[in-house]
Symmetry: C2
Subunit: 204 residues, 2 copies
DNA sequence: CTATGATTTGACCAACTGGTAAAACTCACG
DNA sequence: CGTGAGTTTTACCAGTTGGTCAAATCATAG
């Protein structure tokens, strides 16, 4: 069996600092646009020192991506089959919007990766994400068939939720430039709630 | 006055080939992720030969961006104050969706730039785009005040249109992976039309 | 054909980048 | 305090990259 060497206090601190710095840099400059030196400096280390903690630039990115995906799908997983459909969906939208506000860098890291064709992520999308999406769109389909929400295309519904919420993180610069003083997140929750309520409330 | 040397046949052909190749590479690998050699090869030229037509990698990118922005805003410019509000908006949505289908690389190029903080575009957004957005959101505001469409936040309305339509180009890999055989653009027009119709049709 | 400007190429370079090796230092623990 | 593992630094390297330059080649008007 492989012995897991328990990390020292310094290891824990430095690995965390590196991942934090890497998230900052990768999310704004992309993988190729980020240098190991930049990450090291941002983390307060020298380049060889950083490479003492991670074997390569790729390894840092990979670890970041893995952690990201795990938390990224949580809001969707939480969509409860036993809840009230409209409430469940609206709550999902708000959770997703909250993630854009709280973890914009993670959102941009993901966006960067997908826009460039998901070169380091393709498999995970095709398996984990795909499975989850199939499960949840079947659930949406059932709710529609039962007449509990308006009929529409379940997958496009999911895409629209992702796109609308992540837009506030991914296009943050543009959104803020165009909104001036007004904080985008002041009106966004209301806007999205209204949108999906009108979209999905069953016609009586 | 500066004399504009009229481009030869070869110049026209090669400059076009370079811009086409650069669009392909920049949109999938980003600025830093693309090498001049890659662009040259893709365009069927040698690297020094490419640099005979453009002074630098930056210059290629800049020319691409300028051309992009011009066409990118056309659909919004076409929003007609004298048209029937709901029809105008729905038509705008479809035009934008059509652009995602026809020019996905341009959409991804733009997305790449914005996600990374618009380092080479900041000014244009703050001036040209901002002016256009102010004008059109005032128009939307008027339509709402006149009760011709449901009241909502005009800028968030615009953001939502951009995000929903561009998502199909920017996240193309993810969308197609999750939809399997089904072509996303089969159902997308209908989905978006329904969404905005329900969202905006005035309550009688 | 030929001269002249337009185009293309091969050789090259300096800066940068990811990564390595080994020496030097630090720190916890007996 | 001493000692060995854990940590950090200095020096370095090989490959890549954006870009230059002068020579070679090509196209075409006269």
């Amino acid at each position: 069996m492989s012995k897991a060497p328990s990390p020292t206090r310094i290891q824990k601190k430095n690995r965390a600092a590196i991942l934090e710095a890497a998230l900052e840099m990768f999310s704004t400059h992309g993988f190729r646009g980020t240098t190991v030196d930049q990450i090291a400096t941002q983390a307060g280390l020298s380049k060889p020192n950083l490479l003492y903690y991670f074997p390569s630039k790729e390894a840092i990115f990979a670890e970041l991506m893995e952690a990201l995906l795990d938390t990224w799908l949580d809001p969707l997983r939480a969509l409860d089959p036993d809840g009230e459909p409209l409430d469940e969906i609206l709550a999902y939208v708000q959770r997703k919007l909250q993630m854009s506000r709280d973890f914009p860098r993670e959102s941009r890291l993901y966006a960067n990766e997908i826009v460039q064709g998901a070169p380091r992520l393709g498999d995970t999308i095709a398996t984990d994400l795909k499975a989850l999406v199939e499960e949840k769109s079947a659930l949406l389909e059932n709710w529609m068939t039962a007449g509990r929400i308006n009929r529409t295309h379940p997958k496009h519904l999911l895409f629209s939720i992702w796109s609308l919420t992540q837009h506030y993180a991914d296009f943050d610069v543009q959104v803020r430039t165009l909104m001036g003083d007004e904080d985008p997140y002041d009106a966004a929750p209301d806007y999205l709630e209204t949108l999906y309520r009108r979209m999905l409330t069953p016609r009586t």
